[in-house]
């Protein structure tokens, strides 16, 4: 019946349908230019058109119109959502629970408010539906197994995972403790907490992370939106171990899913350098994220804040630069004095680019912070001094080395120059490669979750 309709609809009442304005010939003429324009950043297109106009005035004029349509399409999200919408999911049963309303969308799925269907007990749960369908029984079994490990993680400051499974259509789901609270950074800001109060709040977070680490569970996606503070002032960590669980289910390739879903959800700004590089992740990644969180709580600013206009730039900064001292971000002299030195060193150590130079565990980070609060000497500082001494030796080696190079220059300048160029080029290529990968992952994250 549809096809009859398709046949009979003839826009102009003539037998032959046609594109309304841009006919085939013109379109084919424009095509190479359009391809080129679409590859450009949106902001570059006007300049590009202006450069094209003098030599190809007609093409440029047509393109200007097409690109305006494109810009309008992007702005309005034309046809970006499935024609099916979300309606039917409300009221649907997931395991022993009924979906009540959507709470939001995360990196790899949507989160819903749910309620027990059988009325056994009151209260809500959060239900996470992962964007994966068609999982086989082996993967389903693995999810259940992993989830049963996570379900054993009980800590007053960690939101519980109650259950997990796979729906009939192969979509995995997680049933989690529903927490009403505010992200820790917003909470601290809104209540204008003192530095000591903010550090105490942070210690509760670090202790909870340490508890999980002791059970060999790594969070992998610590960030303020996963660290909530309830109205009673209790810290609750969300989604512990869920990132790992998600990437595990993503490893199962099924015919209905594309490889892009296999990537792990990363949060630019909180992901450690090794995560951005796609390397295996251990507890040190959580220590890094805790370092970012500590910096944010102490200064109100992200360690790479001013350098992080885009995800790409942010990722590049995380991979290649050291954040400045936290105290230097503070405007009030008394605050700056309080943070300068010990707290600067603690934050810097947690944020070390090389994971070996960070605190080995969240427990060590918490212990050092307690030393600071108790006015004991902190370990981060002693280590830093040793590190400075080490660096000093390294510098001297540099002097020795450059002496050798000078000698070589005397022997054959061109050889040395080309060697140096080679080394420089090698380093640049590596940096570029890293930046490119980080870039791709950041773009992927943004593609999966544009609001982050």
């Amino acid at each position: 019946m549809l096809h009859e309709e398709a046949r009979t609809q003839e826009p102009d009442g003539h037998g032959k349908t046609r594109m309304a304005r841009t006919d085939k010939e013109l379109w084919n003429e424009l095509l190479p230019y359009l391809d080129e324009a679409l590859e450009l950043e949106a902001s570059e297109r006007d300049t590009w058109l202006a450069a094209l106009a003098p030599s190809h005035p007609r093409v440029a004029a047509e393109l200007r119109e097409l690109l305006a349509l494109h810009a309008a399409n992007c702005a309005s999200g034309f046809m970006e959502r499935s024609p099916l919408g979300a309606g039917p999911l409300v009221g649907e049963r997931i395991g022993a629970y009924t979906l009540e309303r959507p709470l939001g969308r995360g990196g790899m799925g949507s989160v819903w408010l749910g309620r027990r269907s059988d009325g056994k007990y009151e209260g809500h749960v959060a239900i996470k539906l992962l964007d994966r369908r068609g999982l086989g029984t082996a993967a389903a079994e693995q999810i259940r197994h992993e989830a049963s490990l996570l379900a054993r993680l009980t800590h007053a400051n960690i939101a519980r995972l109650f259950d997990a499974g796979v729906r009939e259509n192969g979509q995995p789901y997680l049933i989690l403790e529903y927490v009403e609270g505010e992200p820790i950074d917003r909470y601290s800001r809104a209540r204008a907490l003192t530095l000591a109060a903010r550090l105490r709040l942070f210690l509760a977070v670090a202790d909870a992370v340490a508890h999980a680490h002791a059970q060999l569970i790594v969070h992998r996606d610590l960030k303020p939106s996963n660290v909530l503070v309830t109205a009673e002032g209790v810290v609750k960590l969300l989604d512990f171990g869920v990132a790992a669980l998600q990437s595990k289910t993503a490893g199962d390739a099924s015919p209905t899913t594309g490889p892009e879903s296999a990537a792990q959800a990363l949060t630019p700004g909180y992901a450690s350098p090794e995560q951005l590089r796609g390397e295996p992740v251990a507890a040190a990644a959580d220590v890094y994220a805790l370092g970012v969180l500590l910096h944010v709580l102490v200064t109100g600013l992200h360690p790479f804040g001013s350098r992080a206009a885009t995800h790409t730039k942010l990722a590049r900064a995380v991979l290649t630069e050291d954040p400045g001292l936290a105290s230097e971000r503070l405007a009030i002299p008394a605050e700056r004095r309080r943070v300068r030195g010990d707290l600067d060193a603690i934050i810097a150590r947690a944020l070390s680019r090389e994971s070996e130079r960070r605190y080995a565990t969240a427990t060590e980070l918490a212990a050092d912070l307690r030393r600071f609060l108790g006015n004991f000497p902190v370990e981060a500082r002693t280590l830093t001094r040793r590190y400075v001494a080490h660096k000093f030796v390294q510098r001297h080696w540099g002097v020795v080395l450059s002496g050798v190079l000078t000698l070589l220059v005397l022997v054959g300048a061109t050889v040395v120059t080309s060697l140096q160029t080679l080394e420089a080029r090698h380093q640049r290529d590596r940096a570029l490669e890293e930046a490119k990968r980080a870039n791709a992952q950041a773009e992927l994250t943004q593609y999966i979750c544009p609001t982050r």
Binding site: R18, M19, T22, L129
Partner: protein, 196 residues
């Protein structure tokens, strides 16, 4: 019987016999609908995504005993067009009945269903029909992406193009569709009544 019929139809459709094209879509449409209904009757709580439905239809058809059957990519290239028809009909019936549609298909849960209503969807369908005459590949990409919910990675693989090309083609298709929609809205044609 059906496999041979399908293979035959696809072959004649590829040779440009207009009648066989329509016959092919009708057959595929019927097959998709039949399978969706069967699955949903068997498991009433199940929701089907278009991609799952397409894959299941393919599995169902290709495992039946019989003669040659098109490969997955070739099958999907045609079946996605039938899926468009199925979805437009489905959304239309959902709009007409508001609640209690014959069956429910759902894609991924999305919190803000900024989805085109029945009428706009039908207009998109019409514009796509026009687009398919001059630019069959662009229309196919719209079917795969918009109506069937395939990702660019999957589309690239199915059509043997790069992911960037798939993305660019999608952008181009949207430009042409937008242009067509704007034109038909500016100058409404009389007589046609899409909201049957």
């Amino acid at each position: 019987m059906l496999q041979e019929q399908l293979e035959q139809l696809i072959r004649s459709a590829e040779q440009g016999e207009a009648g066989s094209r329509d016959r092919l879509f009708t057959v595929l449409y019927g097959e998709l609908h039949r399978l969706a209904e069967r699955e949903l009757r068997r498991r009433p709580l199940l929701t089907l995504s278009p991609t799952t439905l397409l894959h299941e239809t393919y599995l169902n058809l290709s495992t039946r005993p019989g003669g040659a059957f098109p490969d997955r990519a070739r099958f999907l290239a045609y079946a996605c067009r039938a899926m468009r028809g199925l979805l437009i009909d489905f959304v239309r019936s959902r709009c007409a009945q508001k609640r209690g549609a014959a069956f429910e298909i759902t894609s991924l849960p999305t919190e803000v269903p900024q989805t085109p209503a029945g009428e706009e969807l039908e207009k998109i369908g019409e514009a796509l029909e026009v687009l398919g005459v001059d630019q069959p590949r662009l229309a196919q990409i719209v079917d795969l992406k918009f109506f069937c919910g395939f990702s660019f990675v999957e589309i690239a693989e199915l059509l043997g193009i790069s992911e960037r090309t798939a993305q660019r083609d999608w952008d181009k298709a949207r430009i042409l569709l937008r242009q067509h929609l704007d034109d038909t809205t500016d100058a409404p044609r009389g007589g046609a009544d899409p909201g049957a």
